[in-house]
């Protein structure tokens, strides 16, 4: 792999950029691998990367039915934060956020991590109490957040109208080291690093069956033939239930569409990320100048990667009150992704009823921020059989009633 650097750019500039290579190999499937990861999105690629980097396991294939990073990795609003209420969540999300800080250097690939700060708006008295509680919990967990008053919110984000009649801003939970990153670059950077370690990233390879012998996984059937493996990781977000069905077990997951949209590009006007959970509106400005708006989920099971129009209308209508300038903007694009939602809104990183199959799913509406931490923890789980970061996120928590309840903590009306 050629190292990307200012010198490489200068050298290539002298010879008409003829020396750049493909960032990752277009691999053909081999007959057998030590580990197969299904799903070449952020979480799958990160899992493979840390298997190689932390545990030296490099005989790995990452299978993708579509194209690399074409699922939710390419469909989110790129928000990164770790201000969760429960200890196990704070641990894995903060691990993730801290890995984002040095990801560009670690991968030698610019993921454009921008720790511009995230405000979660408190627009009801209930949210004020909830976020104060979260700020106290975060202090104990070592996650740097603070509860700020409305005047400080206005100072951080002057384009806001904090006196709106329906949704006044009463304060906010501020995480100064939260922010955004370039979502595609995260997938591309991991893919390049994985390929460099000798792993095969295989696109357009859909898994059609899970082969088992004596309650143990021995491989997968795919649209490009059978491939053997010793261990299998399922990291496919919205399609987790579908894959689990192939392997013969069920998951406490429902798949729904979550959508987002962007406006036409405008001059820089907002240098923080604002999340308005009460109205399901999430807003930031991309480096291109587009206002990136995340909306709410549709209320019913869905695999279509489209969202309902009335949800866009709802989100934008509510946001316009707090951000009056948005009313003049034209919207450029809208898209949807299929998110995998669990009952307690916490992820599942777990062994499964089939030996040597591991599953990483249930990140629901907030998976992008968790990519590096999730990969780190999943790699440890797959290599060693357990990880302190995943202990609380096992499938057995639904039998035992030991939930990691982030649905109430998020303060979002689900």
């Amino acid at each position: 792999m050629k190292k990307y650097s200012v010198f490489a750019v200068a050298r290539e500039a002298m010879r008409h950029h003829t020396g750049w290579n493909r960032a990752w190999r277009d691999a053909q499937p081999k007959a057998k691998y030590d580990v197969i990861i299904i799903g070449a999105g952020g979480h799958g690629l990160a899992t493979a990367y840390y298997l190689g980097k932390n545990f030296g396991i490099t005989n790995v294939a990452i299978l993708e039915k579509g194209w690399l990073g074409g699922g939710n990795t390419g469909r989110n609003t790129t928000i990164i934060r770790s201000n969760y209420l429960q200890d196990p969540s704070a641990a894995i999300y903060e691990k993730s956020r801290s890995l984002y800080e040095t990801m560009s250097q670690d991968l030698n690939y610019n993921v454009m991590f921008s720790p511009r700060g995230v405000i979660m708006l408190a627009q009801t008295e209930h949210e004020v109490r909830g976020y104060k509680r979260t700020a106290h919990a975060n202090a104990l967990q070592g996650v740097q957040t603070e509860f700020i008053d409305a005047a400080r919110v206005k100072e951080l984000c002057p384009i806001m109208d904090i006196d709106g009649p329906s949704y006044p801003v009463l304060g906010g939970l501020w995480q100064a080291r939260g922010g955004t990153a370039r979502h595609d670059a995260v997938a591309w950077g991991y893919a390049r690093a994985c390929s460099d370690m000798g792993m095969d990233v295989i696109q357009k390879c859909e898994v059609t069956g899970i082969r088992q012998e004596g309650g143990k996984v021995v491989g997968v059937s795919t649209s490009r033939g059978d491939i053997g493996c010793d261990k299998l990781g399922m990291v496919v977000a919205g399609h987790s239930g579908h894959l689990a069905d192939m392997a013969g077990f069920r998951l406490p997951i429902e798949s729904v569409a979550l959508q987002a949209l962007v406006s036409e590009p405008i001059k820089p006007c907002m240098d923080v990320v604002v999340m308005a959970n009460t109205v399901h509106g999430y807003l930031s400005q991309s480096d291109k100048g587009e206002m990136v708006i995340g909306g709410g989920t549709d209320g019913y099971n869905n695999y279509t990667q489209r969202g309902s129009f009335h949800h866009i209308e709802e989100t934008v209508r509510a946001l316009v009150e707090t951000f009056p300038m948005l009313s003049r903007l034209k919207m450029l694009r809208q898209w949807g992704g299929i998110v995998d939602v669990t009952g307690d809104r916490s992820p599942i990183l777990s062994k499964t009823p089939v030996e040597n199959i591991f599953i990483n799913c249930g990140w629901g509406t907030g998976g992008f921020k968790a990519i590096p931490g999730s990969g780190w923890a999943m790699a440890e789980l797959m290599a060693k059989g357990r990880s302190p970061l995943t202990d609380a996120f096992g499938l057995e928590r639904f039998t035992e009633g030991r939930f990691i309840d982030e649905s109430v903590a998020a303060g979002v009306a689900h």
């Binding site: 239930g241 069920r250 798949s255 099971n301 279509t304 309902s308 639904f398």
Partner: protein, 110 residues
Amino acid sequence: MLTIHCPNCGVTAEETEFHAHGEAHLKRFGPGSSEDDFESYLFMRKNPKGVHFERWRHQYGCGKWFHVARCTTTLEIFGSYSAQTTEPPKEIINHIENRRPDWNATEAPK
């Protein structure tokens, strides 16, 4: 946007008038059941890619509950039927079989 028919009041309207409430025909397990059955009743949902039977409520209309058979990959609605039943009526099953010849009718709730 879905167009849904309410079998209770006979109104056909677009989806904002209704609210979805997840999988229909769940079999209840309570005290005395096994842990697996109880967990399954509480959390394990079919979440199929394809034909799905689900509960809806005519939230901003008559307020009553009913069931809908719908495809989760195309959003096609096969039909609505009364909630006062433990399994989908024959005409709904027949209609789904016509529209989805490769669908296995034994997967329908019993």
